[in-house]
Symmetry: C2
Subunit: 672 residues, 2 copies
């Protein structure tokens, strides 16, 4: 057998054993590490640059040294001489691994196939999994006391581990006698919920794993965790392959309604995606798929039902009745998910027809039910799920924001992916914009921007970029409070152009122009009005004036600058330092449920007490919605905010035909 | 749709609906009724004769009249004229069914493909099944109270039926909303053990069924029962297809040991046989396979383990350790048994490595644990399972009788099948035998025997025939107490012939002679000595002198004449009127477990208290075994018996070389 060494890639944390002499690029590919390579390992493209680390990584049992890589090759020396390979960097395709190693993959060497923001959110979870391992050595069989090996196993678990008498899954009972024979009558069993033996191994077994999956309409993200340490040992993400049946939820439900067997087809592809994710995560972590014994899933109601194989048609129209609003536990195999043969799957409960298990995950992560203060939690997608409350009372609603916040139905909109504009600033004096795209650190006014962004390009604008550009357009006077675009008084800018009967703002000119049209601003207004009306409804219902804390969950929430969200009136008044992203709270909720079994019971107790507010049948919703179309919806709030963050006040606009009598405001400089 | 009428075949009890105009033979074939036909329905072979019944069969809702059959055809009239079709008999292939009908299939018209004695044994069972049906109508969904349909269902079961809050299998949850939509929000659910919803149907559902299966090494017999009335609506039997891997249990275990995957292959074929049986039974009863929701199985340990997919190798040698000695409940689907998707299978517990769930079934059927008197239960196969005890104490053992009682390893031995000699009498004066074969009512001394037995022939001798012939040989002096065959003093009979160094008794001369050799008698002596030694061991262990009642279970037990069994010393002393067949007690036990759920718990409580006596390690077993070789093992007992049943005393035998000094006895005439 060839000698193997340990290699750990950072920042992904992916690790594994590779044979001595493997190139770093080969190792990365084998372990599923995101390391760019265009020339196919010929040493030409220089994309696969890595930085070897020196030091003792005792947590991982690795002593890493630069000389654990082969010496610099002629190719690398050549690139160094031309300053294309700086410092201690190496070409992944040239450097061969000779000893244990920790390797940094710099940002620019990462492939960025898909910018998936459902990263692991740090969270302190009390590890108390649904299953435990027990190792016992059974007495030899005795013809004078002819009892079965199953009964001997039960007796050992009772006497040595004080467990109740419990049954054993038949598939595992089949393994018992061979396991006993193999390991001198020593076996390890996995006991689920202290009541059922679901796995049997010969000898000693120490570690088993679980998957926490956040199943979104667009993205599926899995966290593979050690069930006893709680450590996230690998993550894996993929696009939801159901997209081919319809981009958004409603089009997928329509697909089911229109196509016999459409639900089964969508169920099948999403389960296949789960299997692929599980395989990749297991491979990344260097564990066997069969060592995964538990899984938790959060999802919106339609994804949730489709995953379980339940026809979501009733969720496609009023009265939006869920088949189940409870925690469901079943065997992974029943869902065609291939982990350990007796692995369990637990789906967190959905709350109502529009409020899913993902929101249950957010609640589990943020625990508003334990808070003294009034907490508002917002998870923005095609619908915005909103939770408001504290230890005394919880309300939940879903507001039909539409997909504008996700970049859909926006002229130059796109998903959050490399090349998408995510940050925008407009100079209030010149009205010139500058922006940053995903996958490039430089701003567009950086002289080297063209070179630096060459790889990703500038392909469109994503949700957080849209929020910023519309807010900046407002702050610079390009749009007024009603959202109307037009020339700014005293400014002569070719950024504001006539576009048929309305005006547009040109974010990027040239061959592939990116412009914000009047319709785009309207779409954002509609979306933010829906979100605002929903939160206002809940605040009303709660009978309070103001919320104490606001948490944005999810990818959108992680990216947007909350100041801009407040400028546009997406969220209600709140101290700005009490507003922030809560990360991928849904995914964190899935991980909490995975690692802390009691939380599954708790969420089952919390949810029935949550009061569901159905926006569609609330008469006030429409009223609030219309009121919330303007920007900002409340002048006072804006003024307050402007003071706090030292925003400029919105600038006066040139008088436009049909848009006369607009008030002028004094300008304030915005800090750079 | 064509008109259909009801037809019920007796004695099988198989019934169903057939279109008007169907011939009786077609109907029989469709319903799985055992009706002979050789000429393929041409009216030539006259094998398919049936007798229509007249009368009101109110239990079955049938008013049967002879004129519900078409008029006699020319073919039938022709056969009548030649006296080949007697009385009211009809040819099944000619008579067409015009109205509801009950049809007798005379013994000689039955095919007797396989003489399977595992018939339904009448037994009064308190019907209390493991599952119940509940029909509820759920309120319409309400957007103001957005709860899931699952929760509504739970609430209805709690409030209307006082059931606990219970979960629903995912496969059935998928059916809930479509069922509600289909039947005006009325559904029927099946609840298993008052704790789990395992089936959902739209609207009202009234009847579901269960299968009780007796899985033997040779035969598999299924009883399909209505779970609420307890009625056996169909039975089906088949050979155990594992026979191709080995005739007896040990050869099958050897097959597993010698062939990689041998256990899986045997598991697969036996499950396929289960599926075929279930299909046939469902078809016979005219029900859908999906209406079968529960199943119980009894089997010996090796069959039991193979059915469950457990490698039986540890049962092939000391210490004969069972993988499980408990009741196992799982989904039929897990065992590749295709009934309702959530149908359950319950295997009764095995007692020890040689004492199976079939014995558990015998205990459940006979309940020796409730008796005041000492009950001895014997189930004879390749091994004899023996249970002895009463309400205070139960003992069980398995005794290695070998296959002689099943006709194996006997010169002219065969299984109990048409053509096998099952009854034998030897004239003590002439030493001439007369016998009867399975499938023919006439004795061999009937002048018409040749004609009457022509169809089945005389092919060999089965277990019960062997017992009788050996006992009769003893009673007529052909063998002595040590089992030695030889000429009888004063008798000149060509039935006793020299056969090398020993003698044989010729039961049938001619081209296909059937003779009982010295080795055959030895085989029976060994078998009966083993059985006797086993029972004596248990009687010893129990510390009693005499048992109060003896029950023979199984096919062998149903066929043998207990007098002969006692003459040979198969069974210990007991009042003859307290000895009898208990029918297919194992199969009855399976049916009890199926129909009376509490009995499954009871057997689980009884069995651990049963003291297992391992004959292989009991020093006294060998001693008793040797002592029990002689016939009868106790002269006094025989004398008692002879008085009671008016047997002749054993006759004196001619002095043979090496067999001198034999006592002579006075003869008594045996009644005809």
């Amino acid at each position: 057998m060839e000698d193997e060494v340990s290699v750990l890639f950072m920042p992904s944390g992916l690790r594994g054993q590779v044979p001595v002499g493997t190139t770093v690029l080969q190792a990365a590919q084998r372990l599923g590490v995101d390391l760019e390579s265009i020339c196919g390992g010929q040493g030409k493209c220089r994309k696969c640059q890595v930085l070897p680390q020196e030091g003792e990584f005792s947590k991982h049992g690795i002593v890493s040294r630069a000389d654990h890589l082969s010496e610099l090759t002629a190719t690398e020396l050549h690139h160094q001489s031309r300053n294309r390979l700086k410092g201690a960097r190496r070409l992944g395709c040239n450097a061969r691994i000779l000893g244990d190693l920790v390797v940094d993959v710099p940002e620019e060497s990462q492939q960025h196939k898909q910018h998936i923001a459902k990263a692991v959110t740090a969270y302190d979870i009390q590890v108390q999994p649904a299953l435990h391992l027990y190792t016992v050595t059974l007495p030899e069989p005795d013809m004078h006391a002819p009892i079965s090996d199953k009964r001997r196993l039960q007796q050992a678990l009772v006497s040595e581990h004080e467990l109740p008498l419990m049954d054993c899954e038949m598939s595992q009972l089949r393994l018992l006698q061979p396991a006993l024979a193999k390991a001198g009558r020593q076996v390890t069993v996995a006991v689920y919920q202290f009541q059922q033996i679901i796995a049997v191994w010969p000898g000693v077994k120490r570690e088993v794993y679980g998957l926490a999956v956040d199943l979104g309409s667009t993205t599926i993200a899995a966290q593979l965790c050690n069930l006893f340490t709680g450590e996230v040992v690998a993550t894996a993400d993929t696009m939801n392959p159901q997209i081919r049946f319809g981009e958004d939820l409603m089009s997928r439900v329509s697909y089911v309604m229109m196509n016999e067997g459409g639900d089964a087809a969508m169920t099948q592809v999403v389960r296949e995606a789960f299997n692929q994710l599980a395989k990749r995560a297991a491979k990344s972590a260097g564990i066997a798929l069969e060592d995964i014994l538990d899984m938790t899933v959060v999802a919106n109601p339609i994804m949730h039902h489709l995953f379980l194989g339940i026809d979501p048609t009733p969720l496609g129209g009023a009265p939006f009745t869920l088949a189940t609003d409870q925690t469901q536990v079943m065997r992974a195999a029943e869902l065609d998910i291939h982990l350990h043969p007796e692995a369990r799957v637990c789906t967190l409960p959905c709350i109502a027809g529009h409020i899913g298990a993902d929101t249950a995950g957010v609640i589990l992560s943020e625990r508003p039910d334990l808070a003294d203060e009034y907490v508002l939690l917002v998870d923005v997608g095609t619908n915005a799920e909103i939770v408001l409350g504290n230890r005394n009372r919880l309300l939940a609603a879903s507001s039909p924001t539409g997909p504008a916040f996700e970049g859909a139905q926006i002229t130059s909109g796109q998903r959050a992916a490399p090349g998408a504009i995510e940050r925008v600033r407009i100079d209030p004096e010149t009205l010139e914009p500058r922006f940053r795209v995903i996958g490039c650190e430089a701003w567009s006014d950086d002289p080297e921007f063209a070179e630096k962004s060459a790889r990703v390009g500038v392909s469109g604008i994503c949700g957080s970029g849209i929020i910023e550009v519309v807010a900046e357009m407002y702050l610079s006077g390009v749009i007024d409070r009603d959202g109307v675009i037009g020339p700014v008084a005293g400014k002569d800018s070719d950024r504001i152009v006539q576009d048929g009967r309305t005006w547009s703002y040109v974010l990027q000119a040239g061959e592939r122009p990116i412009r914000i049209t009047q319709n785009d601003v309207r779409a954002i207004q509609l979306a933010k009005a829906a979100l605002h009306a929903g939160t206002r409804l809940l605040i009303d219902r709660m009978g309070i004036e103001k919320v104490d804390r606001i948490g944005f969950a999810g990818a959108f929430g992680s990216h947007i600058d909350v100041k801009y969200a407040m400028v546009l009136g997406l969220i209600p008044d709140c101290n700005l330092d009490k507003v922030g992203s809560v990360g991928n709270a849904a995914g964190t909720g899935a991980r909490i449920a995975l690692l802390n079994f009691p939380s599954r019971l708790e969420i089952g107790e919390i949810l029935p007490k949550v009061e569901k507010v159905e926006t569609a049948i609330e008469p006030k919703f429409q009223e609030y919605f219309i009121e919330a179309m303007a920007i900002p919806h409340k002048t006072d709030a804006y003024e307050e905010l402007a003071k706090v963050v030292n925003f400029p006040a919105p600038k006066p606009k040139a008088e436009q035909s049909g848009d006369e009598g607009r008030k002028r405001r004094s300008r304030r400089r915005r800090p750079a």
